[in-house]
Amino acid sequence: MKLWLQIIIAMIAGIAVGALMRVTGFDAKVLLPLGTAFLELVRMLVVLLIFASMTLGITGVRDPKKLGRLGIKTLLFYFCTTVISIAVGITFATYFELGVGFSEEMANASLTITEPQSVSEIFVSMIPSNPFAALVSGNALQIIVFSIFLGVAINMSGEKGRPVMDAVESLADVMVQLTSIVMKFAPVGVFGIMAWIAGTMGLDKLLQLARFVLVYYFACLLFASVIFLGMIRLIAGLNPVRFVQGMWSAIVVAFSTGSSSASLPVSMKCIQENLGVSKNISGFILPLGSTINMNGTALFQGMAAIFVAQVYGIHLDMYSVLTIVITATLSAVGTAGIPGQGFIMLSVVLTSVGLPYEGLFMLAAVDRLRDMIGTVVNVMGDAVVAVTVAKQEGELDEMCYNQGLPELEGSEV
């Protein structure tokens, strides 16, 4: 049975069992350790996963000068869309007050969070004074900064840097495997969390989680149609309908696998054959994007951070929000496109502003549901940038792009 199906079944079973226990007067909290154990396993992955995949990602950019105008333009597009997605997530969560009133008990826990005092403090605290200490404390920003420097230094060392590079590469592969092993336990974890929520908190909490997912879908659709299609229309000057048509099979694959890496080959094919983007451009932009550009994930992180803060009744000030934006942007860069990476990275974003890690619990239960649309946005984001850059660089075959559009052809004649 496919993993996503297992997870959906586990969700339903969890709700049923939890509701049953509630009715019969059992304490559903006994099932929570199943969820906690799963989340601890996830946590085990974070540090090494970021370290290895980030370093590897940087070594992939061989020579910053060779990267050139095209590369810088691509990175700039990725950066802007990522920041916009986080902002959209934060805005939606704030506007809809997704987490307010979730749990009296949690809101009254009166947690104090460590707030950075100033922008310069945020930047100083991003730099590790000892890489091992950063790894031990799990300080993701510091690990990312170290990995960036390490990656550049490995490239600079040439042949002599190879053994380290090989080791990092191997570590990254092993961590991806480890992630998929851990994800096999996801149904058990989701079952435990769902039973706990249904059993101790009741139906209205489930509805509130469902509302989170619905608002997320809404935000994603709005983001994709306004920002992405707007980019196609206004910046690239192309027909957005044709873009969606051409990318359709990649969108379907992304929705069902929840993995932007798994959708990469399909979207590569779509963008080259249906949309007429040259192989030069797509071969460079899409693989880069599938590792460093995650719009759907970024949107989720902004939304989830606000959700957790609201659940715990914590007010986030401007600096904390800025820290969330920086961390979410960088941690989106530091993850491979594997299923589940969204909420693996969420733990990083939460801890960066001192929000309780436990806030993940509720969201972990529904993560699979929301990851489906999230991956679609991730994949579309890469493709949009590829088409836009290709158009601007004159590497887009417009005949090919427009071929599926009879009405346009008709108007040309």
């Binding site: 100083v124 730099i127 590790p128 004074s129 031990v136 600079m156 060392s157 002599k160 840097g161 080791a167």
Partner: protein, 411 residues
């Protein structure tokens, strides 16, 4: 433009702008802090990897022991000379008389560590725990030593690990070069901060102490270290100072000898032709246990405070000062700002009031600038001397520095 030229320009600009901006220059400090943290990030992996590799390339255990003993011996001798130099200068120029004693904030006394404590602190209980703090560099050194020997014993099967270590040390050298590109910015910020928070009145009242300290440090640098090169290593001192110039400017501009370690390792290997196995062993060890500049300060400060308080020091207490200063230099290994911290141990041992340190706190940063230079040059001089004696010095490379410089100035 060469890097050291940029650093010197940055230093100058920093001092001027700090002086103009005044105390508000404090807001530039985070920039300097970022730079110091970036260098700090390199130190532990660099020491671990390069030292392990260095040890594996010394196949003869006897040689390992000989080099180790010689290093410790030379460090001991130079430290004692530095303390005596400090004492003597302070006596001759009778520093400290007529100073207005206004007690500063009370300071906690630091107990000097006993030899037993020092030794038990050397051994890492958990190598990963030792790697997580820059203060535990001595434990990292000890671990690297054992690891290197164990890799050699493992023969062929140890090779993959050795290759990774070799590669890590190379990568860390590249990383040093990358971070050093930022050094002018960092030095600018640090110098502006130093100059900005400085009160002229404090400087004037301690001008005599400070200038005598600088003179003593220069004598240590050129007479003692230069003499060591001429008479013991039998090398011309000129190329040494030219080759180390970059490290010297970095030390002066950052006030930190440990921040200078990655740079001086590069200078010693690439400009002076010291083999990697000697330099990767001698320099990290020296950066923690050999602080010639700090030792001069401790001797000088002891006399300064005894004069200021009108306490007469007899011969025995002077001997005590020397012994405590040597021990505390070892025990202070890796404690940041240890110069001033360990001074309290030295003062206490001679029965001098610890509050006296407050008199000298105001000039600590300016003192540390030259102090860091002497500290790091003290390590480099020992590395060159031992390399020469062990036949691990590429003399062609050592003198090439001069040739290259001459060619350039002729052109």
């Amino acid at each position: 433009m060469k890097l050291w030229v940029k650093i010197i320009i940055a230093m100058f600009l920093g001092l001027v702008s700090g002086w103009v901006i005044g105390p508000k220059a404090e807001m530039l400090y985070p920039v300097g802090e970022v730079f110091l943290k970036l260098i700090g990030m390199i130190i532990v992996p660099l020491v671990l990897a390069s030292m392990t590799v260095g040890i594996t390339s010394i196949h003869d255990p006897k040689k390992l022991g000989r080099v180790g003993l010689k290093t410790l011996g030379l460090y001991f001798v130079t430290t004692v000379i530095s303390i005596i130099l400090g004492l003597t200068f302070a006596f001759i120029f009778s520093v400290g008389y007529g100073i207005d004693i206004t007690p500063g904030q009370p300071l906690a006394e630091v107990e000097p560590m006993t030899l037993a404590q020092i030794f038990s602190n050397l051994i890492p209980i958990n190598p990963f725990a030792s790697l997580t703090t820059n203060a535990n560099i001595l434990q990292v050194i000890v671990f690297a030593l054992f690891l290197g020997v164990a890799i050699n014993f493992s023969g062929e099967r140890g090779r993959p690990l050795l290759e990774i270590m070799e590669s890590v040390s190379e990568v860390m050298y590249s990383l040093t070069s990358i971070v050093m590109e930022f050094s002018p910015i960092g030095v600018f910020a640090i110098m502006a901060w130093v100059a900005g928070r400085f009160e002229m009145s404090v400087l004037l009242s301690l001008a005599k102490f400070l200038s005598i300290y600088y003179v003593a440090c220069l004598i240590q640098l050129f007479v003692v270290f230069g003499g060591l090169l001429v008479f013991i290593a039998r090398l011309s001192p000129g190329p040494f100072f030219k080759g180390m110039w970059e490290a010297m400017t970095v030390a002066f501009g950052t006030c930190s000898s440990s921040a200078t370690l990655p740079v001086s390792m590069q200078c010693v290997q690439e400009n002076l032709g010291v083999s990697k196995n000697i330099s990767s062993f001698v320099l990290p060890l020296g950066s923690t246990i050999n602080m010639a500049g700090a030792a001069i300060f401790q001797g000088m400060a002891a006399i300064f405070i005894s004069n200021a308080y009108g306490i007469h020091l007899d011969f025995l207490s002077i001997i005590t000062v020397v012994i405590t200063a040597v021990l505390s230099a070892v025990g202070a290994a890796g404690i940041p700002g240890s110069g001033i911290l360990m001074l309290s141990a030295v003062l206490a041992s001679a029965g001098l009031p610890i509050e006296g340190i407050g008199l000298l706190l105001g000039i600590d940063r300016i003192r540390e600038m030259i102090s860091a230079v002497v500290n790091s040059m003290g390590d480099a001089v020992v590395a060159v001397t031992i390399a020469k004696q062990e036949g691990e010095l590429d003399e062609l490379q050592y003198y090439d520095v001069q040739v290259a410089e001459l060619e350039e100035s002729e052109a």
